[in-house]
């Protein structure tokens, strides 16, 4: 991007509006204005704009504002309720058309007999709302443990009724109990501890961000890298497959923007060198914050490329960073492109699923060359794709690349973000090699007990575990009525933890225990440990409001074993608090079977 010759003076003109000019800057600006009609016009326009803004109508607050604040202060618990749990706000959000929706649903039922799901493949079950056999939380049944997934295993047949069966055991731990990781399979030897996690500590005006490595037996973690000039807390992080690079997304203050960054952690013999030194950090770019479809980082299986999406000026495109060159390059130039996943590859050619948002989302398999400078630049992914998948948005492949979770549904650009606006649902499928390309097959809804019709997902965040079987879903954004029997479902405050080999799919009972997460926190990031039975959850505490630093806990959650409650431990270290998380795991090729 080139800077026009007026740009430096436009910043001075803007600063002059609020008296933020030094004498030197004032002199430079005055001298320039004398000879530049364009900048004089800018000065006049900015001054007029300021006059217009200052003259905006003053709106009186509601008369009961003081009483509402007083009530909140006296009760001391209003802010403990997230907005989506406040009945009045919920009705404000969706209530305007409840009657119309009810009417439409009634009409559908009358016309079709039953509100069957129109958005799933041939193997899709008829979703059945889950029922709780007993009103007692202690007596709610739990699904049984599912088998371990082999790399080439196909998805199991779908059960038509995902409701808990008589074979399920009880839990006394939670109103909505969890999956029972029963000892019918040999426990994986992998450690639940992450390979690294990020920590942002210190006073608000002197924050320090470090990459830390947990130590065994609860010893204090070892800082292995310090991040220069942290812009804000990290909200996503992914280690390169060889563990040498950590890519992460940080919030850029309270600006509503994110930064994509990489820090080089290590150098191992035989791995390519990079202009970025060990311990060095690169800022790859900025993006609008707020969409799980863009707040995602994906490393190629060989670790030579990092793909990420960025939204700038209402356009979302894909960028690729190559550690070997230390450079990042824009890949697409269509304004609605999102990074999906890299496919398995046994040679130097790396291929990336690129998705485009629209009435009918599409995914294109795009080939990336051996070197960054061989990459086709600023492409339209529809041109020359190795494979095309219609109706598939942002396929997230498991580490072995044999299974996928992708989105289906109609999308629209609303405000600054592409969103699912009709029939939005995550789909679980196999991802099979088809000649030189890949195809998605044996699809079924990820959530087997939700009815997707007028009510549907607008988004959610999803992560696979490195065992290729376990996955987690959180930040579920749902439009419409709750489909839970007695609790909010899908619940954006809960994490849903499932296994691809579970024939029941993902259901309401797969939510982690309600007590696992501290009150008032919201989930920022989730990683599934290689054990397939542990989650590492980063939870954000409410913004404190004062000038203190943001705070988050990194929780290690072990799913319950039937009658036991989940075991939750906090991986925060050091005194004085801070922002701990997200965690990251590297990809062990033996574990995930890359190249099969």
């Amino acid at each position: 991007m080139t800077m026009n010759r007026h740009e430096p003076f436009e910043e001075l003109i803007s600063a002059s509006m609020s008296g933020d000019l030094t004498d030197l800057e004032r002199g430079r600006l005055d001298a320039h204005l004398d000879s530049c009609p364009a900048c004089r016009a800018t000065l006049a326009a900015f001054a007029e704009q300021r006059r217009i803004m200052a003259g905006l109508r003053h709106v009186a607050p509601p008369r009961d504002l003081a009483a509402r604040v007083r009530t909140g202060v006296e009760r001391g618990r209003f802010v403990a309720l997230p907005w989506w749990r406040r009945p009045a706000v919920m009705f404000a959000g969706v209530g305007g058309s409840l009657a119309a929706v009810a009417g439409a649903l009634l009409a559908l039922v009358l016309l079709n007999g039953s509100p069957e799901d129109p958005n799933v493949g041939a193997n899709s079950p008829t979703p059945t709302p889950i029922t709780t056999p007993s009103s007692s939380p202690e007596a709610t049944p739990v699904p049984t443990r599912v088998p371990t997934l082999e790399p080439e295993t196909t998805l199991p047949p779908v059960v038509t009724d995902p409701s808990p069966s008589a074979s399920m055991v009880e839990s006394s731990a939670s109103p909505v109990p969890s999956v029972d990781p029963s000892p019918t399979t040999t426990p994986a030897p992998a450690s639940p501890q992450p390979d690294v996690f990020l920590a942002l500590t210190g006073a608000a005006d002197n924050l320090r961000m470090t990459v830390q490595e947990p130590q065994p037996a609860g010893a204090s973690p070892v800082p292995i890298a310090e991040v220069e000039q942290p812009s804000g807390p990290a909200i996503a992080a992914e280690l390169s497959p060889d563990g040498q690079w950590l890519a992460y997304i940080t919030e850029l203050g309270q600006s509503g923007l994110n930064e994509v960054r990489v820090t080089r952690l290590d150098h191992r013999e035989g791995s390519p060198d990079s202009p970025i030194d060990v311990g060095g950090t690169g800022v790859l770019g900025e993006s609008m914050a707020g969409s799980p479809f863009t707040e995602r980082l994906t490393w190629s299986p060989d670790g030579r490329f990092l793909a990420y999406s960025a939204t700038v000026d209402n356009a979302t495109d894909i960028f690729v960073f190559a550690p070997e060159s230390g450079e990042s390059q824009q890949l697409t130039d269509v304004g609605n492109a999102f990074a999906g996943s890299w496919t398995p590859s046994a040679n130097d050619v790396q291929r990336l699923w690129v998705s485009t948002a629209g009435d009918e989302p599409m995914s294109y398999l795009v080939e990336v060359g051996e070197q960054l400078d061989e990459m086709p630049t600023l492409i339209d992914p529809a041109d020359g794709a190795a494979a095309v998948a219609e109706g598939v948005f942002q396929p997230l492949l498991n580490p072995a690349g044999h299974l996928a979770i992708y989105w289906t549904g109609r999308m629209e650009l609303i405000g600054e973000f592409w969103q699912l606006v009709e029939g939005g649902a995550p789909i679980l499928s196999e991802h099979r090699r088809d000649g030189d390309a890949f195809e998605f097959s044996n699809e079924r809804p990820l959530f087997s007990d939700l009815t997707i019709q007028q009510d549907a997902f607008t988004s959610a965040a999803i992560a696979w575990g490195t065992d290729g079987d376990a996955y987690a879903v959180w930040d579920t954004q749902w439009t419409g009525e709750s489909q839970g029997d007695d609790t909010l479902y899908p619940d954006p405050a809960r994490v849903y933890f499932g296994h691809a080999t579970d024939p029941r799919g993902l259901t309401q009972v797969h939510a982690i225990d309600a007590d696992d997460l501290p009150e008032e926190t919201s989930v920022v990031d989730v990683k599934v440990s290689p054990t397939g039975e542990h989650l590492l959850v980063t939870v954000r505490h409410p913004l404190p409001g004062d000038l203190s630093a943001p705070a988050a806990d990194l929780l290690l959650i072990e799913r319950n074993t039937g009658e036991e409650a989940d075991i939750v431990s906090t991986l925060n270290f050091g005194e004085g608090g801070g922002w701990f998380g997200p965690a990251a795991f590297d990809g062990d090729p033996e574990t995930i079977g890359i190249g099969n």
Partner: protein, 191 residues
């Protein structure tokens, strides 16, 4: 700036009896800032109900943290930062909610059924046109422009509110003004 006569903070009876200094201070704070904060949030979220909720939460949080503020000169920045953070928290949680059904009229879009852009511009009040222009800005641009031009804050103060450096605020503000200039032009303003 306060709007006289419409509302006042009244301390809870128990603390009124105790003449709690914090209560008195909070009452002054509420009296002075509740209306400006409400207007700032309203211009940010374009929805009176949400603005009221956010303002309400802002002052509840402020009440609980009042003893952490010792420097009177930073009180205003502190309060606006709470409001900004609370609004961002609200926007973050709402960002993907109900795109199909959220048809309730809002401050910014209640005139959508008018015949065409030109007629719409002519029929709108100046206030509505400015609000529509503001609504097209990125949230961070909208924030810093409001803090500068509506709240008359310096780059330094805006930095305190938004958690940005002085230099970053100046750059952001310049981009915001450029964006707003185009948005106002689209709304029929001359420049």
């Amino acid at each position: 700036m306060a709007v006289p006569g419409t509302f006042r903070w009244v301390a809870p009876p128990v603390t009124r009896r105790a003449v709690d200094a914090n209560e008195t201070r909070f009452a002054q704070l509420f009296d002075e800032y509740s209306a400006p904060i409400y207007n700032y949030v309203l211009r940010m979220v374009s929805d009176p109900d949400r603005a009221a909720d956010i303002t309400q939460d802002t002052f509840i949080k402020a009440y609980r943290k009042l003893d952490t503020v010792t420097d009177a000169t930073s009180t205003r920045s502190w309060l606006y930062r709470i409001a900004t953070n609370t609004a961002i928290d609200d926007m973050r949680r709402r960002r993907m909610v109900s795109p199909m059904r959220d048809d309730a009229p809002t401050f910014a879009n209640r005139a959508d059924d008018r015949p065409g852009p030109e007629a719409q511009v002519m029929a709108s009040t100046l206030d509505e046109r400015v609000q529509r222009a503001l609504g097209t800005l990125r949230p961070n641009h909208r924030q810093c422009l409001l803090l500068s031009d509506l709240e008359d804050m310096s780059a330094q103060q805006i930095g305190e509110v938004m958690g940005l450096s002085y230099a970053a605020v100046r750059t952001l503000l310049c981009r915001a003004r450029g964006e707003m200039r185009r948005a106002l032009s689209a709304e029929g303003f001359a420049r």
